[in-house]
Symmetry: C2
Subunit: 158 residues, 2 copies
């Protein structure tokens, strides 16, 4: 079983980076709809989506937020972090089948509160920025190296 680890405040330096990638396929979009209840037809209905500015189905914009959140939770600073805030600017649509990569970079450390600021960019497989923003995070108080929990597995019911 693979493991995940974290960085405590004192181990983090300005300029430190991390990435997290995920393929956003048909199933991921339907899972996101099922989790959030967001059945906006631009995500679910190909015929409806064909008549929109996007011309085809797209992923939920907040999927990029979820990918940034996963990067923070799993990579930098990792498990035990407390997520304080996030800004997001949705720049380009995410198409079904796009591979997204969240790129994080530490831009500031606030010694008094033990918070850090991360610059967050999500790019697609063409290297285009689809979403950008800034996160504020309190890194974990305790160093951890733990087994990576298995991804829950779901079957679509037709």
């Amino acid at each position: 079983m693979s493991q995940i680890s974290n960085y405590i405040f004192d181990e983090i330096s300005i300029g430190q980076t991390a990435t997290y990638s995920r393929l956003i396929g048909e199933k991921e979009v339907l899972l996101f709809a099922a989790a959030s209840g967001d059945v906006n037809p631009v995500h679910l209905d190909a015929e409806f989506a064909a008549g929109t500015i996007f011309k085809e189905r797209i992923a939920h914009g907040m999927m990029s937020g979820a990918i940034i959140s996963a990067a923070i939770a799993l990579e930098l600073p990792g498990p035990g972090s407390i997520y304080l805030g996030q800004s997001l600017r949705f720049r380009l649509p995410v198409k079904i089948g796009d591979e997204l990569t969240a790129q994080l970079e530490v831009t500031s450390k606030r010694e008094d509160r033990k918070w850090i600021t991360l610059d967050c960019v999500v790019i697609n497989q063409h290297g285009k920025t689809v979403t950008s923003g800034t996160a504020e995070v309190m890194p974990p108080a305790e160093k951890l190296i733990i087994d990576r929990p298995p991804l829950p597995s779901f079957q679509l019911e037709l």
Copy 2:
């Protein structure tokens, strides 16, 4: 079948409100993990979570972002909206079984760009604010009243 409708820019007034509620149960948390790949054990592993500041498993913070996004996509302005940006401040943890309600209020209309700004608050079933923020949205260009797509149904594979 129920229907969803939207508000075009000229139909929207400052102070206009909408709400969207969703129960965040065990299944929704696992669906969010499966969609995003975020297997942070604070969301999935009760034993690990018991040793954290939260004392029990909590939902992903970005679930609140997904609930706000659903409120924008389904209620105000509704389908056909273009989501431009979102800020989020995570104030309290969301526990498994909490019922979240996103409350939206239009706070400004920008006539030149046809954008609106929405104040966004997510409260739990105790009326406590778990997340707050601001959204920037371009309302739909065209009035729509459409059938609400069914929520995708998934079965957890154990």
